[in-house]
């Protein structure tokens, strides 16, 4: 199970890469492995605003439908359009080409409420 050092994580198995006042958000390797083959992704549009932990999209595998929640408050700058035709990118490259949205952050202090790699690894051990 890959857990990149530079990311922060949520209990709903989203990851976030914070760069200045922007963030890229996706779902973790653990989440994609649990769900299986992705076949559908529904994402918000640029300009949509969300508060921390609001549902912002839906991902579907062959078997399951799962809501995805935004780790940090902000405004969507871009949604990953490649996923409309290639949802399998979430399986193949969850931390890279399988990213979901990019966000302009509105509350940077919220970062403190997220888990780092070690904390998420411990969390996964607990829920297993």
């Amino acid at each position: 199970m890959r857990l990149p050092e530079e990311l922060l994580y949520t209990e709903d198995h989203e990851w976030v890469l914070v760069e200045g006042d922007q963030a890229t958000i996706g779902i973790t390797d653990h989440a994609q492995a649990e769900m299986g083959d992705f076949v559908f992704v529904e994402l918000p549009e640029a300009g949509d605003r969300f508060n921390q932990f609001d549902q912002f999209g839906v991902v579907e595998s062959v078997k399951a439908v799962s809501d995805v929640y935004i780790p940090l408050s902000g405004e969507v700058i871009e949604a990953n359009q490649s996923l409309l035709d290639q949802p399998e990118l979430c399986n193949e490259d969850p931390y890279g080409r399988g990213w979901l949205i990019k966000v302009k952050l509105s509350e940077q202090t919220e970062v403190a409420s997220l888990m780092d790699k070690e904390a998420y690894a411990r969390f996964l051990e607990e829920v297993e």
Binding site: G36, V39, E60, V62, L84
Partner: protein, 357 residues
Amino acid sequence: MQRTPLYHIHQQSGGKLINFAGWEMPVQYTGILTEHQNVREKCGLFDVSHMGEIYIQGPDACSNLQYLLTNDVARLQINQVLYTPMCAHNGGIIDDLLVYRLGKEQFLLVVNAANTTKDFNWIQANCSGDLLLEDRSTQYAQLALQGPLSRDVLQQLTALDLTQLKYYWFVKGEVGGEEVILSRTGYTGELGYELYLDPGKAERLWQEIMRAGREHGIMPIGLGARNTLRLEKKFCLYGNDIDQHRHPLEAGLAWTVKFEKGDFIGREVLLQYQAEGYRDQLIGFKLVERGIARHGYKIQYNGEDIGVVTSGSFSPTLEENIGLGYIEQQYVGIGNQIEVVIRRNNVKAELVKTPFV
């Protein structure tokens, strides 16, 4: 939770285990899409040992089954298999099952795992005369080998001439050194076989088949692909597409209801439906806009409720999103437009011919 005799094999093979009807079963091994494609193009091996087996024997066995089941059991020859619903008096489907005629007065019913106890109690309460009734579910493991190469794989393991085994017939014999009931049946729409045997021998036979199939690209297949494979062929799944609130006629199973055979449970009501009509019909659709239909989603026409989705999935073979659902008769017709309500959005869909594949 109950485990099949192949539980340890599933663990060793990387099976992802889930609770299915109280059974700890593999939903997938390598991935549903890969497994699905492998069965359509080559072959795959399924553990379906959770299925129930009910044995009925005696001079009155056949006449009781005629009364309990909608299809015509009396026409069944020894070594033949029959698919049939079992209905309640109101025509609602209690279960759909396979009847194996083992002998003139001996039958084996293969029923859905979740329904085994319910079925057994229903049969016991509604049969009479000289017969023996036994729940033999723990005495059988069941493997399914499905796919265009399944015959080539199995033929390596048996002296039986598999080219002589016709669709919905079975033989008793040796496969891989084990005594089995071998039927040409399945839930995938491909050439395929189902094997029933002593649970104690199941692990060995599984390994024998996997070994024989290696050069044919065999894979173990989980319940996830089993579902997408059956959906593409419009095989009903009990608890999803049919249940006690649905009758065989609206489920598109009229071909399994033999009114002319004499009295059976549900006959009166079903005759009435046949004569006077009924509200809904099970139809197949594909989504023409983005979205995946799931069990329980509403079906609408111009914003008005006209039915409900019973099964829906991405179709790996078609690479489209397909589904089954009941809609009111007046909206039925190939090419007709409907809407599936997905998370409060109306997503356009079109009625299509079934089976989908």
